[in-house]
Amino acid sequence: MLEANCRPQKLAELNMLFQVIALANHNNNDTAGLPPETALGMAQSLRNTLNLSHRLCVSIPMVVLTQGLGAEPLKKKKRIDPMIIRQKEERRKKKIEKMIRRLEKNAGQLKPIDELEVPHALMQQMDIRKRQEVPISEEVAEQRAQLAKQWCHYKFEQHQVEVTMLKKIMVARDQALEELRQESEDLWLEAIQVDPALLPFRAKGPVATPPIKDYDTPDGEYYNITKKWD
């Protein structure tokens, strides 16, 4: 009775399982898993066993998947001689101390900046390089003072024009925003948002000469002559 009830059910289950295995192997036979022939063979042999079991009325154990065995047995801890440990630590300490000493020794010394130092050869030629002082006539001095005053005035006016212009522009913007608000509150809200893409604002020019159209910059060579300082 039991046999009649159970067996066809298990049979169907197992058949399905074999189909799944075969399908899986067929799908990724390139990468991993068994080649399809093996799967087929396996299915065949299992079916044979099943037939056998059918005849012998032996129950088949279900296929059980064990859990992954990723871990490996723990390694035995190595015992190191305490003397060696102490030596190692001392060596490290000495190394650090040496570095500190070296840093302290160089602390007062700054890296020289070649560009800021007058070459020695020039300092020696100082007396022949000095220009003869030409006395400035009173007329010229007066003219220069006048010009400096004019210049100050000119720059001040330029500044004032700039400031008033900026104020005017700001007033115009505020008026425009106010008009916009009267028409549409939503558009106004959009308009007063901060524009994150605006900054940083980069602009080039104006320059002394206009850029040459389609200019092909010649490749140059450069040598890095920067000295290295430790």
């Binding site: 030629q125 100082m126 022949i128 390089r129 000095k130 220009r131 030409v134 220069r144 010009l147 004019q150 210049w151 000119y154 212009m165 005017k168 522009i169 007033v171 115009a172 913007r173 008026q175 425009a176 925003l177 008009e179 916009l180 028409e183 549409s184 509150e185 939503d186 558009l187 809200l189 959009e190 308009a191 007063i192 948002q193 901060v194 524009d195 605006l198 604002f201 602009a203 020019g205 104006p206 320059v207 002394a208 000469t209 206009p210 850029p211 040459i212």
Partner: protein
């Protein structure tokens, strides 16, 4: 002052976040039609020439600097040459190395430099270049800032204005202007918009016969943008009859008086 400004800006931002936007179209369909307009500027490329005062001052500074300077290698060499020449004249040339005498003197060096300078051709856009006079070219008047002015149909007549287009529901005014720049100039002209806020406005009434859809007139909001990159020729859109790149002095001759007045309020003068 800065603190107050920052505080108010934050308050505005907070307000912007909390107020849920109502449906755009219902709000904007007031009595005035909202129009976005782009003020496309090409900043000056080349420094303008110096004014007479600037010229004088720069000359003075150069003179003072030269008085205070030390002699250069070249000057010392010229002096040495002069001494050598005098020795040669007195007939004690045998004391000097003959090789030394055959070398190029400082004055000769100067002359050759001047000659080289004469033969050097500058690549300035000079007066011979047709682009200088062509008002349609973006490369004219390099030392001035230029604005793009187009001839657009306004009702029945055609008028010189900044490019403009009506605002469409669903976009912000800045987006309207970005779309406008693309429609007017194509994709080759890259511009940078200066902020989200309009820089100026101009409103005018429609003639009574044309007042459709309940609009009594248009409010034009201007947005400033700068030309960043021009890859190719500008291809004007279909709604544009003509276009010109003009300096600010030339604008008044093209525009209506009231339009020119509202424009002048926000333009950065380059004079």
């Amino acid at each position: 002052m800065a603190f107050v400004l920052r505080g108010s800006a934050r308050a505005l931002q907070a307000a912007a976040h909390h107020i849920t936007p109502r449906s755009m179209s219902s709000v904007a369909a007031g009595k005035w039609q909202i129009v976005g307009s782009a003020c496309i500027t090409r900043p000056p490329v080349v420094c303008p020439p110096m004014t007479p005062l600037e010229q004088q001052y720069s000359e003075m500074i150069t003179a003072i600097e030269e008085e205070n300077s030390l002699k250069s290698d070249h000057e010392i060499r010229a002096e040495q040459d002069r001494i050598n020449l005098e020795i040669m004249k007195t007939g004690e040339a045998d004391e000097l190395d003959l090789e030394e005498a055959s070398k190029q003197t400082a004055i000769e060096f100067e002359d050759s430099c001047l000659e080289e300078l004469k033969s050097f051709k500058t690549t300035h856009l000079d007066k011979v270049n047709p682009e200088v006079k062509d008002v349609k070219s973006i490369n004219r008047a390099l030392e001035r800032s230029l604005v793009l002015v187009v001839k657009q149909k306004l009702g029945t007549s055609e008028e010189w204005v900044f490019p403009h287009t009506p605002w469409q529901p669903g976009e912000t005014l800045r987006q309207t202007c970005e779309r406008l720049v693309q429609e007017t100039c194509g994709n080759d002209l890259k511009v940078k918009f200066l902020g989200n806020a309009p820089c100026g406005f101009y409103k005018y009434k429609y003639p009574k016969t044309v007042r459709k859809e309940g609009f009594i007139g248009a409010k034009v909001f201007f947005y400033k943008c700068q030309v960043r990159n021009k890859d190719g020729p500008i291809t004007p859109g279909t709604n544009i009859v003509d276009h010109q790149w003009l300096t600010q002095d030339e604008l008044d001759t093209r525009f209506k008086q009231s339009y020119a007045k509202s424009i002048s309020k926000f333009l950065v003068s380059d004079r």
